[in-house]
Symmetry: C2
Subunit: 227 residues, 2 copies
């Protein structure tokens, strides 16, 4: 079986993306980042999802991006509520500088060691198009760079492929896809600013996109929301 | 003054590269990585160099690449001695998977937060041409990707430039350049496998390249070697 690295955050997109990789016949090596994110509860979600997906190995890498800051997710900048950011365009303050570049770079390193050259990322440029590192043109440039960066690729042992199967799907399409593949969406976590009891706030951009997605898909949202 | 990020490892190349950035009129923000390297003594060297260079800020980011492994520098793979690797071609076992990609990605993130878009790296493709991520073609691909990855570049606030002023210089040229700019090479550290007392082993590839460089440059090497 061919190995794939799947970036698993604990949200709907990465869970669905990982399931698509599994459907394609890959053996899954899940990689999750403990980067000092405000919504650390997603680490727990990633573990539950990794188990449910039957991954070969689940690795959590520690990397403290709070030392860099610059985002509402890794510093004291407040997470906006009811902002409608996803409708307004522009890049929201929840943007984490260079996050996908950092995560994909670490995936390259891990992949080179275990000889996995297929990397799956749940990037999506439809609903949250504000993030520059979720766009196709960025991902293609990353892939090109990656194939020049590694011993394995330069020596011809493998060729890096960045797979982003959800890139052009809307959230409701992703939710329907997830359900059709048997992803347990009750295990996923989306909220950027969960309450101390772990409940989703219901008001941050990520909660609002999730709610709207389930509504449009006509599928009941299993999330316990505070609001 | 325009800000620049300088990747400062504690070796001759990064110290010289940082001094070149200073000579060009940049205000220096030095970034060093504590990545679980065997030669942790380079962290101490980086601090001394940052002071000597008069940097505006010196940041050491923690990132445990031992969790990934795959290199003689981050795992139990022995560091080769008297291998002549630099003459033989091929990629040595001291190669750390995706290291420059990871370091440059974190530099992008830090730079975006402090609004620094010029990044200096002491990459060199002459003496240690085995490392794929020290080649011009790789660095250009990284720069291209970076300009698609960030909020700052996409919004037109800045344009990432990866500066690698030592790329085509031999080690003896770099040493002569360093001396002419007043870099205190006695503060630099090159050895991959230092002895418990901090002395350079004198036999690893990095020590051998350093010794040969000083010899060719006709400049006395201030390093205390064990061998």
């Amino acid at each position: 079986m061919k190995k794939a690295i799947v970036l698993l955050s604990g949200g709907i997109d990465s869970a669905t993306c990982a399931m698509i990789a599994k459907e394609m016949g890959f053996e899954l090596y899940a990689l999750t980042f403990d980067y000092g994110q405000r919504h650390r509860v997603e680490l727990k979600a990633s573990k539950a999802l990794a188990d449910a997906l039957g991954v070969k190995r689940h690795t959590i890498l520690h990397l403290d991006l709070r030392g860099i800051g610059g985002s509402a997710l890794t510093s004291d900048i407040p997470v906006p509520k009811n902002s409608g950011a996803s409708d307004k365009g522009g890049i929201p303050v929840t943007y984490v500088p260079a996050r996908n570049t950092i995560f994909l770079s670490l995936a390259l390193a891990y992949g080179e060691v275990i000889e996995a050259y297929d990397i799956f990322i749940g990037a999506n440029q439809v609903d949250f198009s504000g993030y520059p590192d979720c766009r196709e043109e960025y991902l293609l440039a990353f892939e090109r760079m990656a194939n020049l960066a590694l011993k394995a690729t330069v020596e011809g042992k493998g060729r890096i492929r960045i797979h982003a199967p959800l890139l052009h799907m809307s959230k409701d399409m992703i939710i329907r896809k997830a359900v059709s593949l048997g992803v347990d969406l009750g295990l996923t976590h989306s909220c950027y600013d969960p309450l101390p009891d772990g409940k989703a706030c219901g008001r941050c951009d990520s909660c609002q996109i999730r709610k709207k997605g389930f509504l449009t898909a006509g599928i009941p949202d299993p999330t316990p929301y505070a609001h």
